[in-house]
Symmetry: C2
Subunit: 197 residues, 2 copies
DNA sequence: TGGAATATTGACCAAACGGTCAGGATCAAG
DNA sequence: CTTGATCCTGACCGTTTGGTCAATATTCCA
């Protein structure tokens, strides 16, 4: 792939992230993507054949990065530390990559038409592996016993909430407060109390 | 308002709920709404002047019902029972009204363009009133001290997660399990541990 | 029952949208 | 510098969409 290709594909994906994360797949237009990327509409379609193709490429590109924190849970580590680190990592992703969070939120809200194979396949395996680790820790009495998959849901929902529902969070908290800083303290406390044996 | 008006406005709002909750404001079409309502497109526009008007009417109609559970927290009740009842009520709304949940999720994801006045106004007041009650309970030592607004966020995010991300939840849990039944147990445990003084 | 008010629709319009294409501009290698 | 490959664009096309309107059907009530 040439230098120009590299650069423009990247610009397009950046623009698409901006557009799709705020308006969703159907709501975003190729024109918006092109404008956000600083390219003309036909030029965007020169690199990606269709809007769906852009969307698919974007999801595929970002999925690994999105699931990475969970795979960094160390089965040999101290259970509480590992879980709290994971929570912290997910929370920081809501701060640093809120658009990515909203992109996936849109997709799943609509029934994940472009992610079904991943949701039923890779994601479930990754979760299953983590569940095994969590259950072992619980068996060993090093972590309080809770339903592990719902524990994971709780982490996902609460951390991503700060990105996906940012508008609401800011409206409720008012100006001058840092939602994620406060959230980090709250979540640390919450999971300590929930998971300390 | 005549009987026919009553019936058709209701049919339209029902159809709109179906369409908007799955595709969002821009993604849903008046045709979809009309089809879901069993009416013709011009007839839909006879009752509501535009797609935006339908959307606005729908949000306005549903907002009170959506916020009702929080206002039923009894300041004179037993703190832990009141909070756990609220959690349970919100969770049951995810089971009984998942489309309403997704409708609001779509709206807030896009920055709540049609809800800004409500988010900054009424919602904040309702939350503030609840926060006062929660803080009093904490001052009295009847509830463990946590940041009350983030406590509310956690309830919202975890309960609504079962509706908004249902596809993902089902993909991870697999068939034959009742996500919300299990979630009820998990959340009861979680908030007991978090809030017991 | 007659006629005014209300309800409904097919046909239509303009704008927005996804996508195509022929041809011109630019670049990289010999 | 030449030339072929890559890159880019204005103009265009068919479809979808939000919305209008004149004409028709239905309802309601004096």
């Amino acid at each position: 792939m040439s230098r120009i290709q590299q650069k423009n594909r990247d610009l397009i994906l950046q623009g698409a992230l901006q557009a799709f994360s705020t308006h969703g797949l159907r709501g975003a237009t190729i024109d918006q993507i092109a404008r956000a990327a600083g390219l003309s509409k036909p030029n965007v379609l020169y690199y990606f054949g269709s809007k769906d193709e852009i969307h698919k490429a974007l999801l595929t590109t970002l999925l690994d990065m999105w699931l990475a924190p969970m795979q960094q849970i160390d089965p040999k580590g101290e259970p509480l530390v590992e879980v709290l680190s994971y929570v912290r990592a997910k929370l920081l992703m809501s701060r640093d990559y809120p658009r990515e969070s909203r992109l996936f939120a849109h997709e799943i809200l609509q029934g994940a038409p472009h992610l079904t194979e991943i949701l039923g396949g890779g994601l479930r395996e990754i979760v299953d592996r983590t569940v095994v680790v969590l259950e072992r820790w619980m068996d060993e009495g090093r972590l309080a016993r809770v339903e592990p998959r719902h524990l994971i849901f709780s982490i996902w929902s609460m951390t991503q909430h700060y990105a996906d529902f940012e508008t609401q969070v800011r409206a409720v908290l008012g100006a001058g407060r840092d939602p994620i800083d406060e959230g980090a303290v709250f979540l640390d406390d919450l999971y300590r109390k929930l998971l300390t044996p």
